[in-house]
């Protein structure tokens, strides 16, 4: 028998279990992932030259507000808010959080330019009116339009970067075995795109478009489930700490949260509903996409929580 106890180790939010991040960080990661997904799908839509005012392109306008909201959540989490500007007085190559701050900083103008480049085709009516009142907008659109493809390609790259970043942010922490797996980046990217696909379905008024994203989503959900499975398998075949971390969901305190909330409600249920719908079932149109989005949020809450519950030291 081993008995391990500590005297005095009682720092708030550190002991006995790490709990430095509450709701703000998962919300930030979720909004970042959703924004990345929307940017990616919107940019792809632009590159494919889709017209007929596709929803994916319209939602490009939501990317920056979502990113701003996300960064707002992160700001709320900061304990020393007056120093927030310090994120931009340094670039630390080894710190994903530093990369993230800078990538987001680049993603916002690129996204805005892309929105400008597509505005006249996406919102022909409102754009004309706007241009009259704010001539600068017109000049911006005219400036961006010839550069649409460059902007779209940049957006694809940035979207993938942001999507993966939301995962890498966590997986880079070697100190937290439940996070420390390279698959987390791709999972977060896929999950973000899947949430974006869900969002497009929610907003879209075109039956065809919804079908298309439904099909995409089914694929993404399957990929996500496979990746999560892979993650568990690699954890189980890893070193002691990761094996112990995996037990968190295999009989440990987060077992129910994982199997019921994350897997059943967040992934399998929407997958089932969407497949069912694709086979012709008639369900309320908002149900599956809402579940997809909720699932993506739940997943981030779960991961952020689970990672903090794992560590290298047993007390």
């Amino acid at each position: 028998m081993e008995e391990l106890i500590t005297t005095q180790k009682l720092n708030p939010h550190i002991d006995p279990v790490l709990h430095i991040w509450g709701w703000e960080v998962p919300v930030y990661l979720f909004l970042g992932g959703l924004a990345a997904g929307l940017l990616l799908l919107g940019a792809i839509s632009v590159l494919r030259g889709e017209d007929g005012r596709p929803t994916a392109q319209r939602l490009l306008a939501a990317v920056t507000p979502l990113l701003a909201l996300g960064m707002g959540a992160l700001f709320l989490d900061l304990e020393h808010k007056v120093n927030v500007f310090r994120f931009y007085t340094a670039f630390v190559v080894t710190a994903p959080m530093s990369w993230g701050s800078w990538i987001l900083l680049v993603a916002v103008p690129v996204n805005l330019l892309l929105v400008a480049a597509t505005a006249r085709s996406v919102w022909p009516g409102s754009m004309a009116g706007l241009e009259q009142r704010v001539p600068a907008l017109g000049r911006l659109a005219s400036f961006s339009e010839p550069r649409t493809r460059v902007l779209a390609w940049s957006s694809v790259v940035l979207a993938v970067a942001v999507g993966i970043y939301t995962g890498i942010l966590l997986s880079a922490y070697g100190a937290r075995p439940f996070w420390n797996t390279a698959i987390l980046g791709p999972i977060f990217l896929v999950s973000g795109v899947s949430a974006a696909a869900g969002a497009i379905q929610l907003v879209s008024r075109s039956q065809g478009e919804r079908r298309w994203f439904e099909r995409l989503d089914v694929g993404l959900l399957v990929v996500e489930i496979v990746l999560i499975g892979l993650m568990l398998v690699t954890m189980l075949s890893g070193p002691l700490q990761t094996r112990q971390a995996a037990t968190l969901v295999l009989g440990g305190p987060l077992t129910v949260a994982f199997w019921v909330l994350v897997l059943a409600i967040g992934l399998l249920l929407p997958l089932a509903l969407e497949t069912w719908q694709l086979r012709g079932a008639r369900l309320p149109a908002f149900l599956a996409p809402l579940l997809v989005i909720a699932g993506s949020l739940i997943f981030r809450f779960f991961i952020v929580e689970a990672g903090q519950m794992t560590g290298w030291i047993a007390y």
Binding site: T6, N11, R86, M97, R176
Partner: protein, 174 residues
């Protein structure tokens, strides 16, 4: 820092000495005691360890800090936090395998400084100089003549969670 577990009695004098020296507020601590018992009655062994930041050679906390607030002091190789740069994002806390860091009520991150303010004056850290069993030693591991180097040469030792790969610099003689 080298700590002889054969002598440590887990009295936590080092903890109180750190708190008073560094005016660590109530409810927080930079060092603590781990008590590990193994075996079954009556074949038992017991180890006390006074633990703190390991001032790792490869400090993930520093690597994970987006602002450069966490840094390694060039002259001493001690890992420190600059409150003026710290945003309280807690990335460094998540990155430390030893849970050695915490956020002060003022909002910035704190932890053991190896009492750099004392070391610069040629004194031992507060915990080291308070310890009644004299089981703690502090010195320069790059100097083969130092007490700590000699102890690591002549005694068996370990570090905590070496597999975390941070190359910790608090050594425990066993």
């Amino acid at each position: 820092m080298v700590i002889d577990t054969k002598l440590c009695i887990g009295c936590a004098d080092c903890v109180v000495a750190c708190k008073t020296e560094n005016e660590v507020p109530e409810g927080y601590c930079r060092d603590w005691i781990a008590e590990a018992t193994s075996g079954t009655f009556p074949d038992l062994s017991l180890e006390y360890r006074s633990e703190r930041c390991n001032h790792c050679d490869s400090p993930p906390c520093v690597h994970a800090c987006p602002t450069g607030a966490s840094f390694v002091d060039e002259e001493s190789n001690v890992t420190l936090v600059d409150p003026d740069l710290c945003t309280g994002c807690k990335s460094c806390i998540a990155a430390c395998p030893y849970d050695a860091r915490f956020v002060l009520p003022e909002g910035y991150v704190s932890k053991c400084t190896f009492c750099i303010h004392r070391v610069r004056e040629g004194l031992d850290p507060a915990c080291v100089s308070a310890c009644p069993t004299r089981c703690m030693h502090f010195g320069d591991l790059n100097d083969p003549q130092s007490d700590v180097s000699r102890l690591l040469r002549t005694r068996s030792w370990k570090v905590i969670a070496p597999a975390a790969g941070t190359e910790p610099n608090v050594y425990y003689l066993t």
